[in-house]
């Protein structure tokens, strides 16, 4: 792989670009040293080597497999700066890690393509300035074109505790009112912030920027509720929210009705992955294990409600419970 070289008044830069390849294949190739990086032969140390990548980055043990992404330590050590594309989260600083001597920089996307928490941060582009042997970094914020994304997580089970005896239709109305209140609160805060920023800009005599209508995403856990009709809510916020039609995203909390507070908390920890249901596609292991043991969860809950004791469960089901917990805790 041969770089472009730049010469200007004392600074020399070598730029390597690697297009997107399937992560598993690149992982294999890098581990077995089948890619030859050919830095300039004359004075390789006098050049500043930059690599631009478009691959998945390793993000920690929770949701990621080891082979489907690329670690920084697999890249050659003569590189000075690694730029990660393809990750949409904008991190406006240069990082240093113990794995490589190189600096790592992740600019993030300029547009929010999916409505997740990681894309709430302000978007930026990175400016590097070199002067002889020093280099500086500055994030250039993209403020004029930004459309802000507001993300909030809600639990409907708090409503359940207050009003336990109410019937189906009443519950629906209460839920709608609750969600409406939340969304109006969000929009009100946004309106206040935009007014403040406009006042600041007027003082500094900058150009007035028309604030774009925000994107709103509420992530809701509903356990013990039936499916809630969204259409009335969406019609109310039609002009005020940018992503109309799909801004309420419902996630099922494993279909159990836990009454006690402590158990609720413990279930949350154990089933943390289940909450984020839309990531379930990648973990086929969980689905298989859970398909085998469909009765487990009901038996487990009955134990907690003191309807039956652990002794009646049997050793097989106890082992299954243990394996399930292990899988959940590992990932």
């Amino acid at each position: 792989m041969k770089p472009i070289l730049f010469h200007k008044k004392g600074t020399k830069i070598a730029l390597y670009g690697l297009g997107h390849i399937k992560d598993v294949r690149l992982h294999y190739l890098l581990q077995n040293n089948k890619i030859k990086f050919s830095p300039p032969e004359e004075n390789p140390h006098s050049y500043f080597h930059i690599l631009v990548l478009h691959q998945n980055r390793y993000k920690g043990m929770k949701n990621w497999s080891l082979k489907n992404c690329i670690h920084a330590k697999m890249l050659p050590s003569f590189l000075n700066l690694i730029i990660w594309a393809h990750e949409h989260e904008s991190l406006p600083d240069i990082e240093q890690s113990a794995e490589t001597p190189a600096y790592i920089y992740q600019p993030g996307s300029s547009v929010a393509t999916s409505l997740i928490e990681a894309e709430c941060k302000e978007k930026h582009a990175g400016l590097f300035t070199f002067r002889k042997n020093e280099f500086y970094f500055e994030p250039v914020w993209l403020k004029l074109s930004a459309r802000s994304l507001i993300f909030k997580q809600i639990e409907l089970s708090s409503l359940l505790k207050k009003k336990q005896g109410s019937s189906g239709d009443d519950l629906q109305e209460e839920v709608e009112k609750f969600l409406e209140g939340e969304i109006e609160g969000i929009l009100g805060d946004f309106a206040k912030k935009s007014q403040e920023s406009i006042e600041k800009n007027e003082k500094n005599e900058k150009k007035e920027k028309k604030e774009k209508v925000p994107l709103v995403r509420l992530k809701i856990e509903y356990s013990g509720f039936d499916i809630i009709r969204i259409q009335r809510l969406e019609a109310k916020f039609k002009g005020r929210v940018a992503n109309e039609g799909y801004f309420l995203y419902f996630i099922e909390f494993f279909g159990l009705n836990c009454i006690f507070l402590l158990l609720h908390f413990i279930w949350k920890l154990l089933h943390f992955r289940e909450i984020l249901k839309f990531w379930k596609k990648k973990q086929e292991v969980d689905e298989q294990a859970l398909q085998k043991n469909e009765n487990l969860t009901t038996r487990f809950s009955e134990c907690f409600r003191n309807k039956s004791s652990f002794n009646t469960l049997g050793s097989e089901s106890l082992n299954d419970i243990r394996s399930m917990v292990k899988i959940l805790i590992k990932n």
């Binding site: 472009i4 200007k8 997107h20 393809h86």
Partner: protein, 166 residues
């Protein structure tokens, strides 16, 4: 870092204070032009952001712009998104600025060395997963079109098939 001569100084220096001896470049990725172009409200988001990146690059008097891939959201973008993209590029790239630095590249020449085109902002780009040169379209992607038109220079080294000469 002991082997290299370059070190990262974290002092914040204003752009005006730095003299003309500096070498600057701007980095941006994943512009996803054409994302949600059928949606009535979010149509122009990606194009606005891309335009702002290029405008900032022009204002800051940058030596080149580095794009990290995923310029287009679809493998086969619509005519509208291509039209808007080329319009934005036409407005921002051309100019009379003189380019101070030299580039050495084995197989081919950079953007601005073409005598018939007056380019002040060279752009380098790599393939992303959304604009991958696939077999269905003859091993070409829309980035190859921009490369052939000399708006943008493709940097990427592809391991599946060797790089084509312009």
């Amino acid at each position: 870092m002991s082997t290299s001569q370059y070190y990262y100084s974290q002092a914040t220096v204003s752009q005006k204070a730095l003299s003309n001896d500096t070498f600057k470049f701007l980095v941006s990725t994943d512009n996803h032009l054409g994302y949600k172009e059928t949606h009535s409200i979010r149509k122009n988001d990606s194009f606005d952001a891309f335009e702002e990146v290029l405008q900032k690059a022009k204002d800051l008097n940058v030596d080149f712009l580095l794009l990290g891939g995923d310029l287009f959201h679809d493998l086969n973008p619509s005519q509208e998104s291509l039209y808007k993209c080329l319009k934005i590029l036409k407005e921002k790239i051309f100019g009379d600025k003189q380019i101070d630095y030299e580039t050495f590249w084995e197989d081919q020449a950079p953007n601005y060395s073409n005598e018939n085109m007056n380019i002040s902002l060279p752009i380098f780009i790599i393939h992303g997963n959304h604009d991958y040169p696939s077999n269905e379209y003859g091993n070409l992607s829309t980035l190859d079109l921009l490369h052939a038109g000399n708006y943008v220079k493709l940097l990427s080294f592809s391991l599946y098939f060797p790089y084509k000469s312009p």
